[in-house]
Assembly symmetry: C2
Homo-oligomer: 485 residues x 2
């Protein structure tokens, strides 16, 4: 059937979607979410169709979203040949997974390929996520999915061994150990090309924090040169597109806050595999307000990381750490960068220093190197290395300032800190503007079991304007973030 | 946050969707598929948001799809108050179902309520369908879902007992027993208010066939008067909106051709419950090319129908019938209407006559009435009743004609018919134009085990134009629709 293009002028943010009038859909024997093959000269593209209920698309026309217009290089009123198109190969595979069949390496590769090429609709990806969640995934399946994610993204191929890496499953406010660990490891002469994410639900990710000091979005060529110069990098993984199907899976998981364990494992390991890591330390914090609240679950995850690493030819050590309160004092990009700089210069929050040294030493042990993290840190070599990395990434000698609107929360009585609500602190730091307002966030003056006097500062909120500060203060009043007994 | 309306001028076909610029989404701490509360004076509406990746929605604006514009009665540049909105109650319920919890009556009611009110996105409905499919549903759950569907749609409340009804799970070409059964039952003085669907994947539904003879879309008030006059009706269920969440579930099931049994059962039974049926006969055809190909599955479904009926306070008898070939000779709306009229006048395809009499007698037995179907049919009372129903629904004395382009498929050798591909016949009738071209379809001259001579007509294809006829002939050549041994 020949139809005229109507450029809808909207993008979908991914999927290739076309809209047909009901009448034309009937003539083509098509239903909503079926696919059509669009042909223009020798260019062929497959799109998922939606059916217009009213008169926005009249018969004889086909409405195209931006993604389709661009890919087909077409324009208003151009005539396309439109025909029913078979469903992509992954559909049958997803259905098999829903039926509780185990999938093989080719299956996962096909699914990821189709997701990356925008050949699957949100509904179809949802079925996949849902199947992985309800049916579970074997470790083999997680390995297949990991390899598929790596294969269909770009990779960092350094001709070196060993390549070290580090990951935290997150969920703890502050906890900015990565820049410290990377600096120590690289200062000892090991290669550690670290890619990190931006915050999704927290007040800062390593990429957000690093961005305070240097650029974190670099093309892959530049990353090679940064690593060559410094043995390391501290960049945003997204710019690399190392595992591009990942973002789409995360989007689909969001509405129900689902995190199918098999997908989670694959998503993490794919980012390690994409930089060709050989030795990886994984930090699994657990605690009441952490991502993992039960020790048995933390142990299960620990085992799975190690086993999956083995299947992927990586040595992975997962350590379970205490996650009952924030690590470090700053929560928010600049506040966390300040903690990191202080620790690297020999002072700073002791819990952040300790945890960073522990993780660095675990990595040293994995490559049979002496656990000399504190020596490297105290000698100033790690700080020197960190400045090198900042410089290689286009940053300058750091000079940091905080947001100018602030509020001090004080104790109403003397006593001992018995509880710190890690999740709520994250939440309030976000309301104050973090991570997008880099200078916003929370400075935490106390630790668990700190003895406090009456009217002593517990925490300070920083915000870039009065209204965000007020919103944060309001949220603070609604919840008991720090308990004193 | 205050944002200006930009009317996108597109509809979504259901869900309430708004589009934000990335910057504004960040300031509201919102992700794609989150919800916002839109406020205009005292009007409040909840919408799912999508995030614009490019410049189609600039900061300070909110793009609204038609459905939202209409419900809010807003227009371009009007200022709305936009705030983060909690997820609807069903989200947590759906997640519990994904985790394999059994849901209760309130749970299903909440989900259906939210679907009907367009409060759930496609992704969220997909999670629900997927959970029902992978986790299964108990009979109690099917009963809860049935009641929820009925409660959230409109109902036909006839102050009578018994109310008879009939359903076929479909999949057999032709098989237009409903108008015959309804006419016989109503002629015997029983009430049988039949609502039917249009074809989804077949060449004709009962609603498509009846539409050849009379109008099938009537407001509920008119349906009451039709039933009052004739004891019966033969109308399209969709016009009644008897179970309106159903269409949305079907749309979501389509891409993977899923049919979670629990949802299927509920969807069928809801339509019976919505007309307050007390006695229901269900036809389950099984055969190689039928919907149900294994006897064990047919028997399982049979049991479930009866049990579910009991839970819903309905007497349901499900019969397993032979589904190894089409029933009747016509496949397509007019062709099937011709078969029906012939049978009602004492001639016509014998298999259609026999099956209709069988189903009518089963219904009679259910209400302890003598099984006098053939007497009523042969006396002409059923035909008279049918004409009454047609008249009450605004139709005239039928005069039917077929599409003028036709093609005869002939045998190439003498022998016996050993196989008729029911699915393929349906498919080719659709390619020829059925059900949208009412006069198009297939007339089948032979039955299984018919003895045929060389060059005898096997089937005739009818189409309304040359190109559709040619497409159908092409499809016919690609497959062996009728095998001769």
């Amino acid at each position: 059937m020949k139809l005229k293009v109507k450029n809808i002028g909207l993008s979908t943010g991914g999927p290739l979607i076309a809209i047909l009038n009901k009448e034309d859909a009937i003539n083509l024997d098509l239903f909503a979410l079926d696919r059509v093959r669009l042909k223009k000269n020798n260019k062929i593209l497959s799109a998922v169709i939606d059916i217009a209920e009213d008169h926005q698309i009249i018969p004889g026309y086909i409405g195209l979203f931006q993604e389709v217009v661009k890919k087909l290089k077409t324009h208003n009123n151009e005539i396309l040949n439109v025909a029913l198109q078979k469903r992509p190969a992954s559909i049958k595979i997803i259905k098999r997974k829903l039926k509780d069949e185990k999938l093989n390496s080719q299956d996962y590769n096909q699914i990821v390929k189709d997701i990356v090429a925008n050949r699957l609709s949100d509904t179809e990806i949802t079925y996949f996520v849902s199947a992985c969640y309800t049916r579970g995934m074997t470790l083999d399946e997680s390995a297949y999915l990991t390899r598929a994610l790596v294969k269909n993204g770009s990779q960092l191929k350094l001709n070196k061994k060993p390549i070290l890496d580090k990951h935290s499953i997150g969920g703890i406010a502050g906890n900015r150990t990565t820049p410290i660990v990377v600096s120590i490891i690289a200062a000892a002469g090991f290669t550690i090309p670290k890619t990190s994410s931006r915050a999704i639900t927290s007040a800062a990710g390593t990429a957000d924090t690093m961005e305070v000091l240097a650029s974190v979005s670099h093309p892959i060529k530049k990353i090679y040169s940064i690593v060559k110069k410094t043995n390391a990098c501290l960049v945003w993984g997204g710019a690399l597109d190392l595992a591009s199907a990942d973002d789409k899976l995360i989007k689909i998981e969001h509405p129900l806050s689902l995190d199918p364990k098999g997908i989670l494992l694959s998503s993490i390991m794919a980012k390690k595999k994409a930089v060709n890591a050989t030795h990886v330390i994984v930090d699994i914090p657990y605690g009441k307000e952490a991502k993992i609240s039960k020790l048995v679950n933390a142990k299960d995850l620990q085992k799975k990381f190690t086993q999956l690493g083995k299947k992927l030819g990586m040595k992975v050590k997962a350590v379970i750490t205490k996650g009952d309160q924030p690590i470090g004092k700053g929560i928010g990009p600049v506040l966390e960068a300040m903690d990191v700089l202080e620790v690297l210069q020999g002072s700073g929050p002791q819990d952040l220093r300790k945890k960073s040294l522990f993780l660095a030493n675990e990595l040293f042990k994995m490559v049979n190197h002496k656990p000399e993290a504190s020596k490297i840190l105290d000698s100033g070599l790690a700080y020197k290395k960190f400045l090198e990395i900042i410089k290689a990434q286009g940053g300058k000698k750091p000079k940091l300032t905080l947001a100018s609107f602030k509020y001090n929360l004080k104790t109403t009585k003397a006593g001992k800190v018995s509880y710190i609500d890690n999740k709520e602190i994250n939440h309030i730091a976000r309301i104050a503007g973090a991570p997008n307002n880099k200078k916003a966030g929370i400075y935490l003056h106390v630790r668990l079991n700190s003895k406090v006097k009456k009217s002593q500062s517990i925490l300070t909120i920083y915000a870039e304007n009065k209204s965000k500060l007020n919103f944060a203060i309001e949220a603070l009043r609604d919840s008991e973030v720090v308990k004193i007994k």
